[in-house]
Symmetry: C2
Amino acid sequence: MAESGDLESSIIKTFRNSGYRATPQRIAISRYILSTHEHPTAQKVFSEVKKDHPTVSLATIYTTIKALKDMGMLQELNHPQSETRLDPNMEPHLHLICSRCERISDWMDPEMEDFIARVSDEADFVVTGLRFDLKGICKRCRDGGKGDRSLAAAGESSSAKDADYTAVKV
Amino acid sequence: MAESGDLESSIIKTFRNSGYRATPQRIAISRYILSTHEHPTAQKVFSEVKKDHPTVSLATIYTTIKALKDMGMLQELNHPQSETRLDPNMEPHLHLICSRCERISDWMDPEMEDFIARVSDEADFVVTGLRFDLKGICKRCRDGGKGDRSLAAAGESSSAKDADYTAVKV
DNA sequence: CTACTTGCAAACCATTTGCATAATC
DNA sequence: GATTATGCAAATGGTTTGCAAGTAG
């Protein structure tokens, strides 16, 4: 994972290489999305970025998301009756989605690529992208019982709350 | 797979058992959704059902979809920038989604359940539902090159076009 | 300097909802 | 006959777009 300064210059390079201008808004938006593990919604990105760029608009959030997507830097996860969430992890991985606290955790499994390769082969289907979600109840919610839906609540940065259950086995 | 009459009476029972009335509209909508393999959109269901029930409204399509979902008879698949598509297959399976012709095919794999059980165990996550999509190019589009996007075009029933590439290895 | 971006507000569009009428049980 | 469902039309809400003013290269 890149250090703060590295991330920023890599973001700038990425935009310029793709013919986009590296504006302060784009940099701030990208920096936030690419470094969080919480799979934020566009609204969450908006409220986070507003802290440093009070005049940023939701439209800019959305166009930047589209640019990042075009450049292959993130993917979007949609689920019925809930807002689209963003995922900057472009490696094959699966999502553990807790129905109680609505956290989405990444899970990397060493056998996944082989499994996909085999299906691709058997089905004669050229795979260009994938999406693997498991829905259920996470350990934390099962233990504590007190699942909270704090995702909606703005004003908190990428905290330990996410970090300690995310990106296991990377 | 149930024969036509069986399907209808099973639909009626299912609704009544769950406290819903078995109206002609609901029966027609359910019958179509539950017996097609094409993973239709709500609009597609609307145009199909209108053939026999010219006065049916989109609102009824949507409320019936919700009822079927509540009863565990179908799931919804959403993807960025495209309409929600319906899937009456509630067994663990994966989707082969062709980016060219937009067909969605089901693929059952014998190892899938074991794989999920292992992840569930390792991640300490109680799985209640899943969603596994592979995006890419299907054999037909690769061979013929003439991928068509006929899904949007109404007025055609569940044809061989879908049937011969759907639900392989059931 | 020029073209691309931003921020605002209006437009979009799939889906949901309110309500009077109609149909189920 | 009481209650639930339908169909219409209006509302919703996340996302997109048009445009004048601002900014990157």
